[in-house]
Structures are given as structure tokens and as C-alpha cells.
């Protein structure tokens, strides 16, 4: 388990990620995950999305959109495993996997967005 003094920092990431996820994921998930595949809405053209992706502000947006919710996931998933499954003896392993996953995901997001044309 992390030292008590670090907990506030991780909680802040969790909370910021919770806001980002609550505000932004439903609309994008609805569009790309449900409405477009079912043909309710026409898919945006490749050119349009690439022109959006060329804007630095959109890249920053997407990085925040990916990174913070991953830390949100890491916090919640960690405590779900602790309390839900009562695997407290695996604390260190779970902590490393959850936050390691969040850091790795953020790194992938950073790389993809940085190197996008």
C-alpha cells in the first residue's frame, strides 16, 4: 500500500478523472460506440477528424481525456479489488498493476498524439 501521505495526490487524480469521465465520455461513447455503428448518425469523414486532430488544443484535450480517466480507473479498480474480493494481501501487486497501467496508457496516448501527423 502506498504511504498515507501519497493518498491525497492519487485521490486528486481520481477525482479529476471522475469529472472528465462524467462530462466527456458519454457523448463520445454514444456517438462512436452506438450511434455511428448503428447508422443513426453519419460517420464524420476522415478528413474532418484529421483536421481536428491537427489542432494542438484537440491533442491536449485528447491527452487529458485519456490520461485522467485512466487514473480514475486505477483508483476505483484498486479499491474494488481490495474490498470486493478481499485480496488485501496483494496490495502491492494490485497497486503496481493499476497505476502502472494508467501510466502506460498515458504514455501510449502521449506518444500517439505527439507523433500524429
Amino acid at each position: 500500500m502506498a504511504k498515507q501521505s501519497n493518498e491525497a495526490f492519487f485521490w486528486m487524480l481520481f477525482s479529476a478523472g471522475g469529472v472528465v469521465a462524467a462530462m466527456l465520455i458519454p457523448v463520445q461513447l454514444f456517438l462512436f460506440g452506438v450511434a455511428i455503428p448503428l447508422g443513426w448518425v453519419q460517420a464524420p469523414s476522415y478528413e474532418h477528424l484529421v483536421s481536428l486532430l491537427r489542432m494542438p488544443l484537440v491533442r491536449i484535450y485528447l491527452f487529458v481525456f485519456c490520461s485522467l480517466p485512466l487514473f480514475h480507473w486505477a483508483h476505483r479498480f484498486r479499491f474494488t479489488l481490495y474490498d470486493g474480493l478481499q485480496v488485501k494481501h496483494l496490495n502491492e501487486v494490485i497497486f503496481t498493476l493499476c497505476y502502472g497501467g494508467a501510466i502506460a496508457g498515458s504514455a501510449v496516448a502521449g506518444y500517439l498524439l505527439w507523433s500524429a501527423p
Binding site: G17, G18, V19, A21, A22, M23, L24, I25, P26, V27, Q28, L29, F30, L31, F32, G33, V34, I36, P37, L38, V41, Q42, A43, P44, Y46, H48, L49, V50, L52, L53, L62, F65, C66, P69, L70, H72, W73, H75, R76, F77, F79, T80, G84, L85, Q86, G101, G105, V108, A109, L112, L113, S115, A116, P117
Partner: protein, 145 residues
Amino acid sequence: MSTSTLQPPKKPSGYKPFHPRWYRPRVSVYWWLGEWHYLKFILREISSVFVAWFVVETLLLVNALRQGPAAYEHYLKLMQNPLILVLNVVSLFFVVFHTITWFNLAPSAMPVRFGGKRVPDFLVAAPSYIAWIVVSVGVAWLLLR
């Protein structure tokens, strides 16, 4: 009877005489299944898995856009896969559940007082919902225009 038998029996290290015995009833691993309130708590926590899943899908989209129009077509096809479609519908339910529980938490986390009276919870939560609608419409407009 010799005096030695009156000595406290050997205990594992850390034991002290007169140390209180803990009362720790064993809780079942399925403690959260019995009651709706607990189940709701676990479902809310599980919603984070679907949040992470959508981040993965977003990264797939960004990667497809980097690779070109053919990769983007492939991504759109992938999202039509029935299994992924069902997973996304389930994800949408969970993520909206997260949104609602998250916004409704605000009045409990920071009760607002006005004129000595506590402002009703729904009024404290209302700005979040309004912001949610505005942001959602804005994002949809940017993507689909």
C-alpha cells in the same frame, strides 16, 4: 500440579498477556451481493472498467487516424462488430451511471448554504447537469459538423 503448568501457554510472537482478543467476524467475499445498496456501490466502482475501455477505444481511433483513411474505415467496421457493439451499449449504461452518481455526490460532498438554510440537493447538482448537456452538445457539434 506443578507451577509450570500455570504459565500462560506459548503463543506466537507478538502476543502479550492481557492483550484483548479482536472481535473480527469474517465477512463473506460476496458481501456486496445481498443488498441493493452495496451492489449499487460495487456497480458504481465497476463503471471505471468501462471508462478505461472507452479510453482504449479512443486510442484505437487516434491510431487509425494516424495511419490513414483505410485504417479509419477498418476502425468503423470494428465498431460494428456485434460483440463490440453490445459491449459499448453496456459501457454506455455504466458510464452514464457513473456520471449521475458523480454529479449527485456533489451536494453531499459540499453542502451549500444560502441565507442560513441548506440549498436543496437537486439545486446544487443542477449546474453539473447543465454543464454536461452543454459540453455534450458542443463535442457532438465539433465532431459531426
